[in-house]
Symmetry: C2
C-alpha cells in the first residue's frame, strides 16, 4: 500500500467534517478525500439494512479513488456497518468513530457513570452502550437521543440563550439528579455536536468531563499510520470534498463543522 | 375509474399526515393509502433530480395499489415533481399542496404582503413565490427557511417557552418591521408546521392571518371528487399507512401529525 495515497473519510453528510478537521490538525502532511452522502442524510433514522447498503456504496466510491485507509466519520454507520466494511475491504484499515469515543469516555470517567447524547438511531441501536460496556463492564450508561442538535448546528445556531435552553432541556433529566448519582462524563456521540461544546460546558459547569470522538479518532488513525509505516511526511497535504447531493448547501453549512470557509467550487458532486 | 378505489397520499415522511388528517375530516367516507418515504426523508435538502426520481417511485407504488387520485402531501415534491407526475399518470388527477396553499394565502391577505415559512429546499426553489405571483402578480412575498421546525415537531416539542423563542427568532426579521410594512399573512409552507399553529398565533397576535395547505388541499380534493363523480358515500372509510423505513418511528412520531395514536402494527413497511 503506497503511503502517498490519501485517507478516505466517509460521513452521511457534513457533521463528519468535525472529524476531518481533527484529522487534518493531527496529520497535516496527509491528503484526504471526504465523501458526504448528503443525498441520503440523515442516517440516524434509517434502518440497519439501509445504512449498511449506503455505507458500502460510499466505501466502494472511496476505494475506487485509491485510498490507504478508510475512516467512518459517522456514528450511525460506525455502529451498524463497521464489521461489514472491514470484511469487505480487508486488509485495508477501516476505523470508526465509535470505539475511540467509547474509549475516551471510559478514560475520562472516574465514577463509571457516563452519559451519551446522540441521534435517535445511534441511541436505539445501543452501540455506545455496548462499546462502553465492552471496555468497562461495570459502567452505568445513560443514553439520550437529542434530535434537535443536528438541525440547530446545521442552522448555525451554536450559542445564545435558546441553544442553552434546548441543551438544558435535554440534559436536565440526566444531570438534574444529586451530584453523587449523576454521570461525571458526557460523550458527544454525534459528529455534529462538538461545535456545541462551549454551550455544553456552560450548562454542565467545570466538573463534568466532555469528550467527543473527533480528536480520539484522529489519534487512533495517527497511531495506525505510524505502526503500519503508512504515514506521509514532507509538504502539507490537500483535501478533496465530495458530496452526493447539494454541493451548494455542503459548502455553505459545512464551514461551521470544518472550521473554515468552504468555497462552492471546492465541492465535487458524485453519484453512488 | 371506479369510485370505490382509495385516494393515494404521498409524502417524504410523516409531516404529510397533517394533510391526511384534513382529508379524512373532509372526506370521511373515502379510503386512503398514505405512503411516507421515510427511508429518504427529508426531501427539503435534496436536489431537484433526486426529488423527481423519488416521487415517481412513490407514485408508481401507489398507482400499483389502484388509487383513484394522487395527493402529493409534500411541499418539496409538489414544488418540483408535480408536472412530471401529472404527465406520467394522466388522466388520473394529481393534486399538490402548493397551489392550494398559495391560493389560501392570496385569499387571506388584504395588503398583498405574504410571508412564507418552509424548509430550505422549498424556499430556495422559489415555488411558493412563483405560485403566489401567478395568482396575484403584485404580491410581495418574503420567504424564510426554518430548518428547526421539522426537528422540533418530530421531537414532539410543540409548545412552551423554547418553542416560542425559536419561532420568535425566525419571525422577528419578517414581522419586526413597522406594521404598515410587514406581511398580513403567514403561510405555513411545510406540512410539519400546522401542529405549531397555536404558537405561531401567540407570537404573531390576532391580526396576522395564518394559513396552511392541509385544509385547502382537502377542499380541492373534495371539489374534484364531486365534479368527476368519483366520491364515495356510505360507510366510513379506512386508512392504510405505508412507510419505506422505520415503521416503529413512523408509528411513534406520526401520531403528533395525524392527531391520533398510531399502533405499530398498522404501519406496513414497503420498498420502492
Amino acid at each position: 500500500m503506497p503511503a502517498g495515497r490519501p485517507i478516505g473519510v466517509f460521513d452521511s453528510g457534513i457533521g463528519g467534517l468535525t472529524v476531518l478537521r481533527a484529522l487534518r490538525a493531527a496529520l497535516p502532511h496527509e491528503d484526504f478525500i471526504y465523501l458526504g452522502d448528503t443525498a441520503r442524510l440523515p442516517y440516524g433514522t434509517k434502518s440497519r439494512e439501509s445504512v449498511i447498503r449506503y455505507s458500502i456504496q460510499a466505501g466502494d466510491a472511496l476505494i475506487g479513488r485509491e485510498i490507504k485507509c478508510l475512516v467512518i466519520a459517522c456514528n450511525t454507520a460506525s455502529a451498524v456497518a463497521l464489521d461489514a466494511l472491514r470484511a469487505r475491504y480487508a486488509p485495508l484499515p477501516v476505523i470508526g468513530v465509535l470505539e475511540p469515543g467509547a474509549k475516551a469516555a471510559c478514560a475520562a470517567s472516574k465514577s463509571g457513570r457516563i452519559a451519551v447524547v446522540a441521534t435517535e438511531g445511534t441511541v436505539q441501536g445501543g452501540a455506545y452502550q455496548t462499546a462502553i460496556h465492552t471496555l468497562r463492564p461495570t459502567a452505568r450508561v445513560i443514553a439520550q437521543a437529542c434530535q434537535l442538535f443536528v438541525a440547530l448546528t446545521e442552522e448555525g445556531w451554536i450559542d445564545g440563550p435558546l441553544v442553552t435552553g434546548i441543551i438544558q432541556r435535554y440534559l436536565e433529566p440526566i444531570f438534574g439528579t444529586p451530584a453523587e448519582e449523576h454521570p461525571d462524563c458526557l460523550l458527544l456521540g454525534c459528529t455534529h455536536f462538538p461545535v456545541l461544546r462551549p454551550v455544553f460546558r456552560s450548562v454542565l459547569g467545570p466538573s463534568i468531563a466532555i469528550v467527543d470522538s473527533a480528536a480520539t479518532t484522529a489519534a487512533v488513525v495517527q497511531r495506525m499510520l505510524e505502526e503500519t509505516h503508512l504515514g506521509r511526511s514532507g509538504e502539507a497535504g490537500g483535501t478533496r470534498l465530495l458530496a452526493t447531493d447539494g454541493p451548494e448547501r455542503f459548502a455553505r453549512v459545512g464551514g461551521i463543522f470544518l472550521g473554515e470557509r468552504i468555497e462552492l467550487g471546492r465541492v465535487e458532486a458524485i453519484d453512488l
